[in-house]
């Protein structure tokens, strides 16, 4: 019977072509949209990981409570030793300590009196030992003026801040803050370059200094606000696994300063953003199933009317209504599968193109001064290969189920009469 139906489908193009066209296009769009959302999520994850969250992040429990304020006085101690231990415990993970600190930037005139001032957020990162921070923060590309720091005592300032305060390359500026223990701290830095990240949070008021300088400045010998961990390749499940094992071992609920590891997804807005994207995808698929089912229902009805003759004959020959109905559904299943394969293949081709070449959005985003997100890229994942089957097969089968109800509604004699005309 299956062979018989397949022959009919192959020979009667109107029976297969239109539904396949609709389903394949819907599936193609689904796959493309899915890959694009994936690409967007990957970008979101990658960017946030580099600047903010790491793939995982270690902080003290006390720090975590006030994490939005980044209270470095509640930071981690004995960081060098900890990183050595972590590196041997998790050899695949790359660990990076950072200090975030809010302070006042003061530009003095020749006599040492304040010319102008501004509040800035300091990034203390490892700029000199063989760390990946320069890459993580994308410093080479972000450099808009001057050079990257080459020795202690040099500082990078966001272009926006520099313009606002009136700073030039090689100016000596003073950072004014408070030490880890609460007393006033001042330190002079030479401006080696200016940066523009294209990320508002950074551009609004970031200064970047080597972490060793910051430790000196804030009296934070061997401490850090946070230790960020980076996997060779981000995997959400892994981050949760590692965190739960780590926290069982190190988190002590009686000790405020015991360490706690936070996976990327649980930090800040990430959970919300990623969940929103999952939701969007779900809605998109649902809408596609709905719309395509409607279209296929209608085309199935028209097709069904065209096929009343055939159905009448088959009833006369002795096929039961249920059998005919099931065979129509079987046909729609075949069509759904074939169309999904075609649609998925085309969708994947476009997705791979979008993954490898990306769409350059820089002309559209010129005023946004974005560096990292100018290219929109898709990301093909194993799920991209299967996601299309949900709308493809469902829509086809639902369409056939609904349009085929007519077979039951009409009585046999009626169906049969219609074939006489």
């Amino acid at each position: 019977m299956l062979k018989f139906l397949a022959k009919g489908l192959l020979r009667d193009r109107t029976r297969s072509f239109f539904p396949i066209l609709i389903i394949a296009s819907g599936v193609m769009l689904t796959v493309l949209f899915f890959s694009w959302i994936n690409g967007y999520a990957m970008m979101l994850i990658a960017e946030n990981a580099r600047f903010e969250t790491g793939h995982v992040k270690i902080v003290t429990r006390a720090y975590k409570e006030l994490i939005d304020q980044k209270p470095y006085d509640l930071g981690l101690m004995n960081v060098n030793e900890r990183i050595e231990v972590l590196s041997s415990e998790y050899p695949q993970i790359y660990w990076q300590p950072r200090i975030y600190f809010g302070n006042l930037l003061d530009l003095p005139d020749k006599k040492g009196e304040t010319l102008s001032q501004g509040e800035v957020i300091g990034f203390g990162v490892d700029l000199f030992t063989d760390s990946y921070e320069q890459e993580l923060l994308n410093l080479k590309e972000a450099l808009s003026n001057g050079n990257l720091p080459t020795k202690q005592g040099e500082i990078l300032i966001s272009q926006e801040v520099a313009e606002k305060i009136g700073i030039n390359i090689n100016d000596v500026i003073t950072l004014i803050g408070s030490t880890m223990y609460g007393s006033m701290a001042m330190h002079n830095f030479t401006v080696s370059g200016m940066v523009r990240f294209g990320i508002q949070a950074m551009d609004r008021g970031a200064v970047i200094v080597d972490i060793a300088d910051v430790r000196l400045f804030l009296d934070m010998e061997d401490s850090a606000s946070e230790i960020l961990g980076f996997l060779p390749k981000y995997n959400e499940d892994t981050t949760f696994e590692i965190s739960s094992i780590f926290n069982k071992k190190y988190t002590n609920k009686d000790d405020e300063f015991s360490e706690i590891m936070l996976p990327l997804r649980t930090q800040g807005q990430m959970e919300f953003l990623l969940a929103t994207m999952d939701q969007r995808m779900g809605m998109f698929i649902f809408i596609f199933i709905f719309v395509m089912s409607l279209v296929l229902w209608n085309s199935g009805l028209m097709n069904g009317i065209r096929r009343y003759g055939e159905i009448g004959i088959r009833l006369a020959i002795g096929e039961s209504k249920g059998h005919i109905y099931r065979s129509l559904i079987l046909e729609s299943l075949l069509i759904g599968i074939v169309a999904t394969i075609i649609g998925t293949a085309i969708g994947l081709i476009f997705s791979y193109l979008l993954q490898n070449y990306g769409i350059d959005m820089s002309s559209m985003l010129k005023d946004a001064k974005v560096i990292m997100s100018t290219t929109m890229r898709a990301q093909v994942t194993p799920t991209s290969y299967f996601i299309g089957f949900i709308p493809g097969v469902f829509a086809s089968v639902i369409g056939a189920m609904v349009s085929g109800i007519g077979i039951y509604k009409r009585n046999t004699a009626q169906l049969f009469k219609e074939l006489e005309i």
Binding site: M1, F4, K7, G8, R11, D12, G309, E310, G312, I313, R314, L315, A316, I317, G318, E319, S320, K321, G322, H323, T412, A413, F416, L419, E420
Partner: protein, 234 residues
Amino acid sequence: MNIIIIEKMSKHYPIGGGKFTALKDIDLEFTKGEFTGIVGPSGSGKTTLLNIIGSLDTQSEGNVEVMGNPIRKLSSKKAAKLRSQHIGFIFQTYNLLPVYTVFENVEFPLILLGISAEKRKEAVLDALEWVGLSDKAKSRPAQLSGGECQRVAIARAIVKKPNLVLADEPTANLDAENSHHILKTMKKLNEKLGTTFIFSTHDAKVIQYLRRKISLLDGKVSNDEIINEDDYDL
């Protein structure tokens, strides 16, 4: 042996508010191996009667039994089974499935019966030989003449060797030569396989082949006679 018993059977169609009586108080019996024509003017109820016998429709009143099956009490599934196993249909407009070849059209009833591919092939080739279309097995219906199409339809009706073949005006769309050919073919199969043939017609050419002629007029049997009793070896 009666294979069909019809007692006091009537059929009404709802029309507007009231009803239209298409068949009224029909009493008929058919025995195995009959070759019977139902004749009558247009609108006399021939198609309605054949559809009820073929379990495609049900009567409104009275009793109809086909091979022991009470037509009105059959579920649609049981009715389908009765048709599939015991009844072959032939229509005025051939009604072949256009996307399938001659061979596949004839094969279809056997697929429904779950017969193996090997046996199907044998039976289909036999049936095509009976109707003289062995060389057209691979053709599509669109490539055949009307007479050839009707012969394919006959092959499809008899391929499963049913007890009963119902033919609704099988020659209405055919010219004289083809009509004779079709009737001869059916007659031959009637004798060879012992299949009961009942068909409706208002074609005078056909009458000479009949063994029994039932005349319908305004939904009633106006005449029922045995003709050509000993001479149907044409």
